[in-house]
């Protein structure tokens, strides 16, 4: 066995993030002291990021099946059938910790990683989305982080050549020390040409493809699972640098050799690089793997086995090739200027053996490396419910018109144009609905099919009531897809939480998952892929629980998608869904009244379904001329967004007497939409909705150049738009 490696000491074990009982488990499993390389392999395989040891038990409860699901969680990405032999492949993943340390490179490698997950399965990426959470605007690091992350997300996607079509950006002091960078990629493949990670056949060549291996990110996966403290700056040299150019070549080369039928199995090298990818390929195929590290292309001299096994150099892949196709595959890779090396073979032994310089550096049971990883049912406590805030007890400190003007310019609700104008969102020529609407819509090849894509979560709801918050995140993604006329099909999730070793945090996690599961079941909207990011915590303070939900829906005809801009004056404005005036956890309560409290709006999933199906029906029937779902900021913010998108104003009736006006206009009751339609059709639609038991009222008429509520001051659409667009650019220029 290996010589020249450090001795295993308790300090070394701890430095690898392995707890004493976890080390005991290793000893029992292999019956001897591990080598240094083996210790590194265990630390990579058994950390939170790769093993999901704290979350696995709970993830099992998520609904993952539907007739249209081809591949649920467990592969590089989820796959759903959209008909006509076409499949959509998608997943979301976080790169939180690296992005805090080096925002540009952290974000680029995050986007690169998720794109690789998608094309590894044989899909050509057609769209990206991203969900970003930053600290309070006043925090001294925020501006620098926003600037670097946005440039990085754009830098990678723009160069790689995929449109970034949607996302979310939020600011909250609870992300001051732990920003979130969640990236989602969506690809398109033929249903009969999906590629998987499981190796098959003994003695098959295992081929290393892509960029060379360097000492990048060694311990990156462990870093992603470690809580930050004040000297996390010390961990800096593990930063990886993204090379979108290399990845673009890798994409084209991979798709070319897949089309040439050379590939048995394929796995990208993500977290814990060669280790995770090789072990997964073998374990999934019930095979052993022999690797010879002398064959691995390296870009630095003198790399040890340990370093090569743990390197997180980007833009690399591992493949099992059909032996008779080796030459053909190599020629394709050389044409694209990429490295190609046979680094090992599959074996019948079910062992993972790593050779370097003639020595065996590791010899481990391959299935147990994954299957026997620790699994924790960590203690969790549910928090006590927050009180429901009675709208009548909330005194409005200002009028409706002033509140509207104020809210539209808050970091939470203002335009995120400054962000998405740095993303190429038109490349490929298929972007039907660009950022700025409810869901992005992209055409599928030459049409007529389209995809509706959205990312959502409202962390303050999740914090106040994890179950409702989890439900709401799924419901909002579903609603955004519905609002453009899409049929919601499936989601990917990215579960960002604090330290799972604290029962309160684990309680948030369990609660959110429960809510997500319920919503997915009720809405027939299964989870097909996802990612968990824990330990988002600095000095004992966790982030707001943030389970980002990425939803995918399909439109049979993209030309019939609905948009949120008012189309013309004189149309009837209908409000669909029930309004009670729920102010608890609303943006109004926080930004206008300075109170961040109360129970969040409850989510009635059957109402969501009923109301959403009715709206989608109106879009498909061609009745609706503009559609927008209601979310942050409530009814008046949604109306303002529709007005600003069109330059057309609205005359609105006064709030009903049963609800205090500020609660009516700014409450955040769920399951609601605004729909406009020609005025002469309003009566018929109202009657139809009544018949279908869908709450629906007419609240006004489009027209003019101001938002005019009976009995309130008029607000000019143009000035509203100026305020809406002004905050983020001014803030980034250091002027706000």
């Amino acid at each position: 066995m290996a010589t020249n490696e450090p001795h295993i000491t308790p300090e070394l074990i701890a430095a690898h993030g392995l707890k004493p009982d976890e080390y005991e488990r290793i000893l029992k499993l292999i019956g001897r002291v591990p080598t240094f390389t083996e210790l590194g392999i265990f630390s990579a395989m058994w950390n939170e990021h790769c093993s999901y040891k704290s979350s696995r038990i709970h993830l099992r409860g998520l609904p993952t099946k539907a007739p249209w699901v081809i591949q649920g969680p467990g592969e590089n990405a989820g796959v759903i059938d959209i008909g006509d032999g076409q499949a959509v492949v998608f997943k979301m993943e976080s790169h939180n910790h690296p992005s805090y340390i080096e925002p540009y490179q952290g974000a680029t490698t995050g986007v690169g990683g998720i794109l690789r997950d998608v094309f590894t399965m044989g899909a050509r990426p057609i769209a990206c989305l991203n969900a970003l959470s930053f600290g309070a605007p006043e925090h001294p690091k925020t501006r620098h982080l926003v600037s670097g992350v946005v440039a990085g997300v754009g830098g990678y996607g723009n160069s790689f050549g995929v449109p970034t079509v949607g996302g979310q950006v939020r600011f909250h002091t609870r992300y001051d020390g732990n920003i979130l960078v969640n990236a989602m990629a969506v690809g398109l493949a033929d249903t009969d040409k999906i590629f998987y990670a499981a190796a098959s056949g003994v003695n098959m060549p295992i081929v290393y493809l892509g960029s060379k291996t360097g000492r990048d990110g060694i311990h990156g996966a462990s870093m992603a699972s470690a809580e930050f403290d004040d000297d996390s700056a010390e961990k800096r040299p593990t930063v990886q640098v993204g090379d979108p150019f290399a990845e673009k070549l890798l994409l084209e080369a991979c798709l070319e050799i897949m089309a040439a039928d050379c590939v048995i199995a394929i796995q990208d090298m993500g977290a814990a690089g060669l280790t995770c990818s090789a072990v997964e390929m073998g374990a999934k195929g019930d095979l052993g793997v022999d690797l010879d590290l002398d064959a691995v292309p390296t870009r630095e001299t003198g790399m040890s086995a340990y370093e090569m096994m743990l390197s997180e150099s980007q833009e690399r892949m591992l493949m099992v090739l059909k032996p008779e196709k080796e030459k053909e595959a190599e020629a394709i890779f050389r044409k694209w200027g990429l490295d190609f090396a046979v680094v090992g073979y599959t074996t019948p032994t079910k062992r993972f053996r790593v050779k370097h310089g003639g020595d065996i550096m590791a010899d481990l049971p391959i299935k147990e490396l994954g299957d026997e990883a620790p699994l924790y049912d960590r203690p969790h406590v549910a928090q006590s419910a927050k009180p429901v805030i009675a709208a009548r007890e909330v005194k409005p400190p200002m009028g409706i018109a002033q509140a509207l003007a104020k809210l539209i310019a808050t970091p939470e609700l203002c335009s995120k144009r400054w962000v998405w104008e740095q993303y190429d969102h038109v490349i490929l020529g298929n972007t039907v609905q660009r950022p700025g609407g409810d869901a992005a819509v992209v055409r599928v090849q030459d049409g007529p099919k389209g995809l509706a894509l959205a990312v959502d979560v409202t962390p303050r709801y999740c914090e106040a009531d994890p179950i409702q918050g989890g439900k709401q995140a799924v419901a909002e993604a579903w609603r955004n897809i519905t609002a453009v006329g899409g049929r919601p099909l499936a989601i990917t999730d990215n579960l960002n939480f604090g330290n799972p070793e604290r029962p309160e945090i684990m309680g948030q996690f369990v609660g959110c998952l429960k809510g997500i599961s319920e919503a997915c079941r009720a809405l027939d909207f299964p989870v097909v892929s996802g990612n968990v990011s824990l330990y988002n915590e600095t000095n004992g303070r966790g982030i707001l629980p943030t389970p980002s939900i990425g939803g995918v829906g399909v439109l049979d005809d993209f030309t019939k998608s609905a948009t949120l801009a008012f189309k013309t004056g004189g149309e009837a404005i209908l409000l669909i869904g029930e309004t009670q005036g729920w102010l608890g956890q609303s943006v109004y309560l926080r930004e206008v009244c300075g109170r961040e409290d109360g129970a969040p709006p409850p989510v009635d999933l059957s109402a969501e379904k009923r109301n959403g199906d009715a709206v989608r029906g109106m879009i498909h029937a061609g009745t609706a001329t503009a559609v927008h779902d209601l979310s942050d900021g409530g009814l008046l913010i949604a109306l303002a967004e529709m007005a600003m998108a069109s330059g057309i104003g609205a005359q609105l009736l006064a709030a009903p007497a049963s609800i205090v006006p500020h609660a009516f206009w700014f409450g955040e009751d769920q399951a609601r939409y605004i729909v406009t339609l020609p005025a002469d059709q309003a009566g018929l639609v109202l009657a139809k909705m009544k018949g279908a038991r869908v709450p629906c009222v007419r609240i006004g008429t489009t027209g003019g150049d101001a938002i005019l509520i009976a009995g309130e001051e008029a607000v000019s659409v143009a000035s509203l738009k100026d305020d809406f667009e002004a905050w983020l650019p001014a803030y980034m220029a250091g002027q706000a």
Binding site: E102, V241, D243
Partner: protein, 80 residues
């Protein structure tokens, strides 16, 4: 006063630009180049004539903006 700040990538950090340039030089038939790493220079004109003070300003500029010290090293020279 004239000064120059030179910013280079730390060793071990991937340099995709350098890599692409290496490849291009090879295909252009420029022989004998084993490796290329790309960095930046900033030619800076400073007000005032105190060399020690100038160096301090340059260091501050490099730390705060010119270099990304997570992945880059820098060197400061006052030239005249």
């Amino acid at each position: 006063m004239k000064a120059r700040v030179t910013v280079t990538l730390k060793s071990g950090i991937l340099d995709p630009q350098g890599k692409a340039i290496e490849g291009a030089l090879k295909s252009l038939g420029v022989d004998g180049v084993a490796s290329v790493r790309q960095g930046k220079v900033f030619d800076i004109e400073l007000a005032g004539g105190d060399k020690a003070k100038a160096e301090a300003v340059l260091k501050e500029a490099a730390d705060k903006l010119l270099a990304n010290t997570v992945i880059e090293n820098y060197r400061v020279e006052v030239l005249s």
